[in-house]
């Protein structure tokens, strides 16, 4: 009954979305305010109905209703409750419902919080947003119905893929989807602006917080996925350049570029048509991601079970939304003229270079991801493009970005000069180069990556600190004066410095792990001790145990340093009988300076166990840096101008004054 209610709610949401996609658009075109106003209740209704559908599906999973095909295929009665709940979106159909829930929530947020938007713009934004909803509701209802019943319910379900039975599933996809779908806001605003033919500072001030919100969730979502892969897959890799990772990374790169170019529109009224294009592209890449993951066109470890019919449907959605928006762009963008001017050396130019590097890096990732497909279609050759290519082709862009970032970040708007911008940075540069040189001389191996990475990280982190120090005149004014300046510094400036420092922290982690991780693989009998990375590890015992829906062999490894016991690690091998699949649960002793990572391998014929030990220096800095970046975004989001400054465009000119446009 609840399941049918959910299905009904989904159908109603589809119908409401059709109304929301048409009536307000016509209203905005004709200037009929009552038609425009339909958008707000429609967006609320769409969200409410999608929520009902989502909760109905979740209840089917929680109560293990195996008469529902999706539940029978992806759940099991013995599965822990957390994974019954998060298992709702651990499959194609359910994850699409989550996607819709978030899409309609964003629409709802514009409806509820957009009282200060001009009515026509609001109607158009919600209309475009609803047209995306229509397409995806149709996709769900016609190709991926989550509420389909089985004629004969099985006694128990097929269980969820054991790799997904992890707390990571509860957080990674929702964060990622908020990011992907959040970019639809930028897209809808861009389309609305193109239809209206008007982009101004006020428009940028509405778009930027949405992009920032999407970006920060995407940052956390990608970091969570990387962190999850790191501890779950059992060899401590944290990024694999897998197609599915790439398609989540490309929207992130473009959102990062959009975030920066929207500042130029907001503060300087320049780069308007470029920003619109970026907004379109960022969401287009989200759609491409959905297509790649769900169509199976590119082989990947985490693609969903695939179906050509779904692939074709998604291809149509891509063609309509990407093709349509680019056509509209080509038609309307030439009318968006940039009025403001700036010198060659200015922050505007710096942000142009930032955008150039980020967009070209995105294209490189895109090209590398698509090349196997292209090569096969064009020449019939089957080729692979993997980590060695991406490391080589992508890294230079990030190095370039890191090199110029602190300089351009301190340049003033309009016109600046390099000597002035560099003045507070010479010291930072000297320290960074010295640190790099120190690492270069200390390390035994010849990898150039570590010294370069450390120098870049220091340059970014200290550069961000130097910028703040300069802004609050630290050391050049009395301390009380500096404190007052710090308190008055806009949150956006704090967010900027923190975000840039986070980038440095991530670079530091990546460089250290890549250059200095050590590995030890050996056979160990219980009671034996071995040395790895400055520690002594003793395998005390391997015990059998039973989990709720798996059986496990758990090792007990005592870690000693200079003879003193400093901890116990319990790596585990699990076997999930329903899916007949094993998983490796690594035991990780985490500190800020290194991870001690141990996995238990197979029992050997002579009675020992294969044990792998990795020492990963500064591994946690990779994800810590991502969190710091996201925190920077969050702080920037609380900036005063977003809390109070938004309704700039609505303010009517004083009677008799010349309209601004």
């Amino acid at each position: 009954m609840i399941v049918e209610l959910g299905h009904l709610a989904l159908i109603l949401a589809f119908l409401v979305a059709i109304v929301q996609a048409t009536v307000p658009m016509v209203g905005a075109h004709r200037g009929w305010t009552d038609w425009m106003r339909v958008a707000t209740p429609a967006a609320s209704a769409q969200f409410g109905l999608t929520l009902v559908a989502f909760l109905a599906l979740m209840s089917a999973f929680v109560t293990s209703d195996f008469s529902v095909r999706l539940v029978a295929a992806n759940s099991h009665s013995a599965k822990p409750l957390l994974y019954k709940i998060s298992g709702t979106w651990g499959n194609h159909e359910g994850s699409m419902v989550l996607w819709m829930l978030i899409l309609s929530l964003f629409g709802g947020m514009v409806a509820w919080r957009g009282a200060n938007l001009p009515p026509a713009l609001k109607a158009r934004v919600l209309g475009v947003q609803a047209s995306i909803s229509v397409a995806f509701f149709a996709f769900i209802l016609w190709t991926s119905n989550p509420f389909e019943r089985l004629a004969f319910a099985p006694i128990d379900g097929n269980d969820l893929n054991p790799l997904l039975q992890d707390p990571g599933l509860a957080f990674h996809p929702p964060f990622l989807y908020v990011g992907y779908v959040g970019l639809s806001m930028a897209y809808s605003f861009a389309m609305a602006a193109l239809i209206e033919g008007r982009v101004d500072a006020a428009w940028a001030r509405w778009v930027r917080p949405w992009t920032l919100l999407a970006w920060l969730f995407l940052t956390i979502g990608i970091a969570l996925g990387s962190f999850w892969a790191y501890y779950e897959l059992g060899w401590g890799g944290w990024w694999f350049w897998d197609p599915v990772e790439n398609v989540s990374f490309m929207p992130w790169l473009l959102a990062t570029a959009l975030l920066h170019s929207a500042i130029v529109v907001e503060k300087r009224d320049a780069l308007k048509s470029w920003t619109i294009l970026l907004a379109i592209l960022a969401f287009s890449f989200s759609l491409i991601g959905a297509f790649v993951v769900r169509s199976g066109i590119i082989t990947s470890v985490h693609a969903f079970a695939t179906d050509p019919e779904r692939g074709m449907f998604l291809l149509w959605i891509l063609a309509i939304f990407i093709g349509g928006s680019l056509t509209l762009y080509a038609w309307r963008a030439p009318s968006l003229r940039t009025s403001s001017v700036f010198a060659t050396v200015s922050r505007e130019s710096g942000l142009v270079v930032n955008n150039l590097l980020l967009v070209v890096a995105t294209l490189v990732v895109f090209f590398g991801t698509m090349w196997p497909l292209l090569a096969e279609v064009l020449t019939g050759r089957k080729v692979s493009v993997g980590p060695p290519y991406f490391d080589l082709a992508f890294t230079p862009f990030m190095v370039g970005l890191a090199m110029i970032l602190p300089v351009f970040a301190t340049l003033p708007w309009k016109r600046g000069d390099l000597p002035t911008a560099m003045r507070p940075l010479w010291g930072v540069l000297a320290v960074a180069v010295a640190l790099g040189a120190l690492v270069w001389t200390l390390q035994t191996g010849g990898a150039i990556l570590a010294p370069v990475g450390v120098a870049l990280a220091a340059w970014l982190i200290l550069g961000a600190l130097a910028e703040i120090a300069g802004r609050i005149r630290l050391g050049r004014a009395p301390l009380a004066e500096s404190a007052r300046r710090a308190a008055n510094l806009p949150r956006a400036d704090w967010g900027k410095a923190i975000g840039h420092a986070g980038f440095g922290i991530t670079i530091f982690g990546i460089a250290c792990v890549t250059a200095w991780a050590t590995e030890d693989i050996r056979v160990l009998r219980t009671g034996e001790t071995f040395a790895a990375g400055g520690y002594d590890l003793r395998l005390d015992a391997v015990a059998q145990s039973e989990g709720p829906n798996y059986s496990a062999e758990t090792g007990r490894i005592t870690v000693l340093r200079d003879g003193a016991e400093i901890g116990v690690l319990s790596p585990e091998k699990r076997f999930y009988p329903v899916q007949r699949m094993g998983t490796t649960e690594a035991a990780i002793d985490r500190t800020l300076t290194r991870d001690l990572y141990v996995t238990l391998g197979d029992p050997q014929s002579d009675g020992g166990w294969a044990v792998r030990t990795y020492v990963k220096p500064f591994a946690n800095w990779i994800w810590l840096g991502a969190l710091v970046m996201a925190a920077g975004g969050a702080i920037s989001l609380t900036d005063r101008r977003y809390r109070v400054g938004a309704p700039a465009r609505r303010a009517a000119p004083a009677p008799g004054a010349v309209p601004a446009e």
Partner: protein, 152 residues
């Protein structure tokens, strides 16, 4: 479909042989390091996105042993890669060779960059030229300031 499910089960189930095992390691650390570098550039034919260094499939293990055999036999790194690619096809190379057929892939980055640099340099120079040019009446910048003031 069934085949891919089967492949997935092999790849994700560290039951038979889990990634590189202790029995495979070469006694000479220098040779072993070379072997690891090579095997992490070779793609597992069963487990799609994994290198044979990470893969749990039986064939990946065979290939790991094959690579080590070639190294012990005295092959250079490039010779080992060629040896495997000759037998299993270009598909197993995670780093596509820099051949004419792969030229678009390798040139994509530099070409996009040069193209983008040219476009943005032209844009920035146009802005800068307009910034220098004095105009009668209001400069665009004054105009935009007036616009901004009116909007407030």
């Amino acid at each position: 479909m069934r085949r891919s499910v089967l492949a997935l089960a092999v790849c994700l189930a560290p039951l038979a042989a889990a990634a590189i095992g202790p029995d495979e390691i070469l006694p000479d650390p220098a040779e072993e390091a070379r072997a690891r570098a090579i095997t992490s550039e070779l793609r597992c034919v069963v487990c799609q996105s994994e290198s044979i260094d990470e893969s749990n499939a039986e064939i990946a293990r065979d290939l790991r042993l094959l690579v080590r055999e070639r190294i012990v036999a005295g092959d250079a790194d490039a010779e080992v890669l060629d040896f495997v690619a000759d037998r299993y096809g270009e598909f197993v190379l995670f780093r596509p060779p820099m051949t004419a057929a792969n030229a678009p892939l390798w040139l994509a980055g530099p070409v996009f960059l040069i193209f983008g640099l040219a476009l943005s340099a032209a844009f920035v120079r146009r802005r800068a030229r307009e910034a220098r040019r004095p105009r009668s009446g209001l400069s665009p910048e004054e105009q935009s300031r007036i616009d901004a003031l009116l909007r407030e």
